[in-house]
Each structure stands twice: as structure tokens, then as C-alpha cells.
């Protein structure tokens, strides 16, 4: 892959668009949830205000170097995830830094932020944070297993590790999507999607309604703003991967917006109709249901 400086500007543009898209989308989703509950809901620009507010706070305290780096790592995980997969298929501007083995790298980046957060939250010294992180890591690990298996299944199916080629193989009609050519792998990956989106029923780790809010207990002001940015960026980045792998990718921003929203809504729909699982329940759930489906997907291929 040849590198040109202009790609950096394009990449920055992609990140900018995705962050704004994510800020608005998560607010819209919250609003939908509120309307379902009979409430009016937050204004759609509420996320922007919260972000500015958090940056505007005057006093900041730190608990050490890793405390700074935690949110930074987390954001790096999100941006890295976004930048190493093609956001818009076939577009020069938003092809990003996709290369031949990006599928493996993406799998790694999914995990990177959580690990960074574990170090940062551990340094904050708050027991809730440490417990939250260990619970979060356990749950994310269990939830990622079906995804990893599904990814192996489809890389076997398409005989490639490049996301671009996988998207290319799915072009030309809706029935070329992995969703239809390999439904079992898609199903396995969907387990991982609802499991790692940090939405109900699998969000006991960070849910602000739970008394121990988990890893971000000690985070405030600008640190929290960074994490909020990641909270909106990361789900979109991850949904982009799903869209590329299973739903035929997107060839323009409109298609991108619609597809990401639709895939995201899957986890939202699951979330609004299920109560929150405890951590050991969700781990058991993934090992019992997600894992066999993933193995089945590999066997079928």
C-alpha cells in the first residue's frame, strides 16, 4: 500500500464525520428509548453540550500517569479501529489505511481500549473502578469469542484477511452479503455485537444507574470528555466492521448512515426488551450460546 500525506487529512475528516455522526446518533437512540418509555427525551444536541461542559470544568485532579493514559488509550482504540478498516468502500477519501491484514488488526483494536482503560482505572485507586474493570474484561473476553470465531469462519470463506476484499466479494446484490451466504457466522458475530456494545442487557459494567459506575468512577472533566468521545466513536467504528464483514459495506455516506444506524439498533432493541444481566450470567450466556454457534460457523465453512 502506498502512503501519501493527503491520506492523513482524509483520515482526520473521516474521524470528524464519524464523531459527529456518533454524537447525534447516540442522542437520537436515547431519545427513541425515552419516547418508548413515554418521556420527551434529551435534546439531540445534548451530547455536544455535555462534552463542552466537561471540558469547561475548572478543577482537574490526576492519580498518576496511567490515569491520564487510560482515556487516551481508549480513544486510540476507537480511532485505530476506525482508521484501519475502510469506512466507505471504493472511496479514495475514506478508504483510510486499510491493508491486506487489517482484519486481524481490527480484532486487536477492539480489545486495546479496554485494556488501556484497565490500567488507567486501576491507577485511580478506587475499588469500584478496579472491580468494574475486571468484570468488564471478563465479560468482553467472553463476548468477543463468538466474533473471533465468526471472523475466522468468514476469512476461510473468502480466503482473505483483507476487509476491502471481503467487502468487494459481497458487492452486487443483497444476496451476496455474508448475512445470506454465511448466516451462522453472522449470528455468532451478532452475539458479540450485543455483548460488547455496552448497552443493556450487558452494560452492568458501566451503567450509570448502577451504584458502582465501574471503570470511570474517578474520571471527571476532560478525561471524561475523552471517554465520552470514545463512547460515541467506538460503537460506530465497531459497527463499521460489522457492516463491512456481514452487511456488504457502504459505498457512500448515506448508505453508511442508514446501515450503521440499523445495525446499532439491533443492540438497542435487544437492550430495551431485556433486563440487565449480571456479569457471571452474561459470561455463561456467551459461553453457552455464542461459542457453539461460532464453532458451528467454522465447521460449516
Amino acid at each position: 500500500m502506498s502512503f501519501e500525506w493527503i491520506q492523513l487529512a482524509y483520515a482526520a475528516l473521516t474521524v470528524f464525520i464519524v464523531i459527529n455522526y456518533g454524537l447525534i446518533m447516540t442522542a437520537v437512540v436515547q431519545k427513541i428509548g425515552a419516547r418508548v418509555g413515554g418521556r420527551y427525551g434529551i435534546p439531540v444536541w445534548q451530547n455536544y453540550i455535555d462534552l463542552v461542559k466537561n471540558i469547561a470544568l475548572r478543577s482537574k485532579i490526576s492519580h498518576g500517569v496511567m490515569f491520564y493514559l487510560g482515556p487516551v488509550f481508549r480513544l486510540t482504540g476507537g480511532i485505530g479501529l476506525l482508521l484501519f478498516v475502510p469506512t466507505i468502500y471504493g472511496s479514495v477519501m475514506h478508504q483510510n489505511f486499510a491493508f491486506a491484514g487489517d482484519l486481524i488488526l481490527a480484532l486487536y483494536f477492539v480489545f486495546f481500549g479496554t485494556l488501556g482503560m484497565a490500567l488507567g482505572a486501576g491507577e485511580s485507586g478506587h475499588p469500584h473502578a478496579a472491580i468494574g474493570v475486571s468484570r468488564g474484561l471478563a465479560q468482553v473476553t467472553a463476548a468477543e469469542l463468538p466474533l473471533a470465531l465468526a471472523v475466522f469462519a468468514i476469512s476461510l470463506q473468502y480466503q482473505t484477511l483483507s476487509i476491502t476484499e471481503i467487502v468487494a466479494a459481497q458487492q452486487g446484490g443483497i444476496f451476496n452479503w455474508t448475512l445470506f451466504t454465511n448466516p451462522i457466522a453472522t449470528l455468532a458475530a451478532m452475539f458479540a455485537l450485543v455483548g460488547t456494545m455496552m448497552r443493556a442487557p450487558f452494560d452492568v459494567v458501566v451503567a450509570p444507574q448502577e451504584i458502582p459506575i465501574g471503570p470511570p468512577t474517578e474520571y471527571h472533566s476532560a478525561y471524561l470528555a475523552l471517554m465520552q468521545t470514545n463512547r460515541v466513536l467506538f460503537p460506530v467504528a465497531k459497527t463499521v466492521i460489522y457492516m463491512n464483514l456481514f452487511f456488504g459495506g457502504a459505498s457512500n455516506w448515506a448508505e453508511f448512515a442508514v446501515k450503521v444506524f440499523a445495525i446499532y439498533m439491533v443492540s438497542v432493541l435487544v437492550g430495551v426488551v431485556h433486563p440487565r444481566f449480571r456479569v457471571e450470567q452474561s459470561i455463561r450466556f456467551f459461553l453457552k450460546w455464542g461459542l457453539p454457534v461460532g464453532i458451528l460457523a467454522i465447521l460449516v465453512v
Binding site: 418521556r39 463542552v52 461542559k53 485532579i61 451504584i211 470511570p216
Partner: protein
């Protein structure tokens, strides 16, 4: 005005023993090393609060104040009877979320401490700690007549009367108990104060730190925490 008359004053002469977990002690680590621990010194940052300047440009500060006003995060901390009036605000009937108000579980992420009613001396201690852990600018709202002048607990031996003596209150909501509508109206007034840049309670607290501490210590009998706990 002092809260507690002579007979109930804090007895400053007798020493109250520290709670056991706060006493200095030496611990032997698994590798045989002996470590001296003084919890009050080691576990807390004792730096007194600073006065934080406003932003240099007025327009920036105005913009920030606008954002602060529209994103009020309340610490989920209920003290008196009034706490029960805060919950309806989350429900479809009142829905405070549409004004950018939400509840956060940790003081680090909250800007607004609602003292929702009478404050017993024991709870005052926790309220002070929670308040001091919040990042500035932070606001305090006193809910109900108990926070204004003691209300029906005027004669009580164990509650404080004027909240303003212990924490810098930005706004009182009168009533016993105020309805959720009154709370919402109060929050709207608080927003106006913040937008005008008048809600500088955190700086007031820092400037008059000694006065506040003296007041707090005059009622809290077993002061077993650092003077300022982050």
C-alpha cells in the same frame, strides 16, 4: 447565627478516639518489610481548595457557562424527606432529562449537589466529603425549609439549621416538602444564575475556607477525616 446552643456545643476539649482503621499503624508486608501507615496522611490529598479564575475572555466564559447551565449533572445523594421528590423527575411525568439534567453516581462527575431536606450531623460529614470531591464549578441547592432555617427540626439536637453556614448554597427551594414542579422551577432559576456567571459557590468556598471549616467542625463531634479531602 449559630446552630447549636451552649449545651449542645461541640466539646472541643475531650479527644474522641480515631476510628480503628484510621489510626497510624505498621504493617508487615509478605516479604518481611515493615511499612508505616498513617491513613489520614497517606490516603488523602490535603491540599486546600484553590480559587479558580474565570476564563480570560468573557465570551469564552459565557459560552462555558451556557454549556454548564444546560448540562447539570446531579449527584445521586439524598438526605432528608425531600429525596423522594427527586425521583419523579426521572419519570415520564416530569422528565428532567429534557433540560439536560441527569443523575450521576459518583461525585467526580457531578456538578450539582442537592441537599434534599434536613441534614443530620452525621450526614453533614458525608455531604461535605461528597461536595469537596466534586470538580469545580459546582453548585449546591438546598431543598425544603429544613435547609433554610431548620424547618420543623429547629429544635432537634442532631440536625443543622442553616445549610449556608457549612456549604456555599446557590439556591434554596422553599417548601415542606416542595413538589417536583418546584424543583424543576428551581433548576431553571439555577440555570439563569449560572448563565449570568453568579453561581461561583466553589470559589466562595475556597475563599472562606477557614470560616466554613470552623463552622463544620463546631458541630461534627468526631472529625476523623482530613480537613480537605479530594
Amino acid at each position: 447565627m449559630k446552630d447549636i446552643d451552649k449545651s449542645f456545643r461541640k466539646d472541643t476539649e475531650t479527644e474522641f478516639p480515631l476510628r480503628e482503621e484510621l489510626r497510624p499503624r505498621s504493617v508487615t508486608a509478605p516479604d518481611g518489610q515493615v511499612i508505616e501507615i498513617d491513613p489520614l496522611q497517606d490516603y488523602f490529598c490535603q491540599e486546600p481548595p484553590k480559587v479558580h479564575k474565570q476564563s480570560y475572555f468573557k465570551i469564552v466564559e459565557d459560552f462555558y457557562n451556557w454549556a454548564r447551565a444546560h448540562s447539570l449533572w446531579i449527584l445521586g445523594f439524598g438526605t432528608g424527606c425531600g429525596a423522594i421528590e427527586m425521583r419523579p423527575l426521572m419519570t415520564p411525568r416530569f422528565d428532567a432529562y429534557r433540560y439536560g439534567i441527569q443523575w450521576r453516581p459518583t461525585p467526580r462527575q457531578a456538578n450539582l449537589l442537592v441537599i434534599s431536606g434536613y441534614l443530620s450531623v452525621k450526614t453533614l460529614k458525608r455531604a461535605i466529603r461528597a461536595y469537596e470531591q466534586m470538580p469545580s464549578p459546582k453548585y449546591v441547592v438546598g431543598l425544603g425549609s429544613c435547609t433554610i432555617n431548620g424547618g420543623m427540626y429547629w429544635d432537634s439536637y442532631n440536625t443543622i439549621k442553616r445549610l449556608d453556614d457549612y456549604l456555599p448554597v446557590d439556591l434554596y427551594i422553599a417548601g415542606c416538602m416542595p413538589r417536583p414542579e418546584a424543583l424543576l422551577a428551581g433548576f431553571m432559576d439555577l440555570k439563569k444564575l449560572i448563565r449570568k456567571g453568579k453561581a461561583e459557590g466553589a470559589n466562595k468556598y475556597a475563599e472562606n475556607f477557614d470560616w466554613y471549616k470552623a463552622n463544620q467542625k463546631s458541630v461534627i463531634k468526631d472529625w476523623d477525616m482530613p480537613d480537605y479531602n479530594w
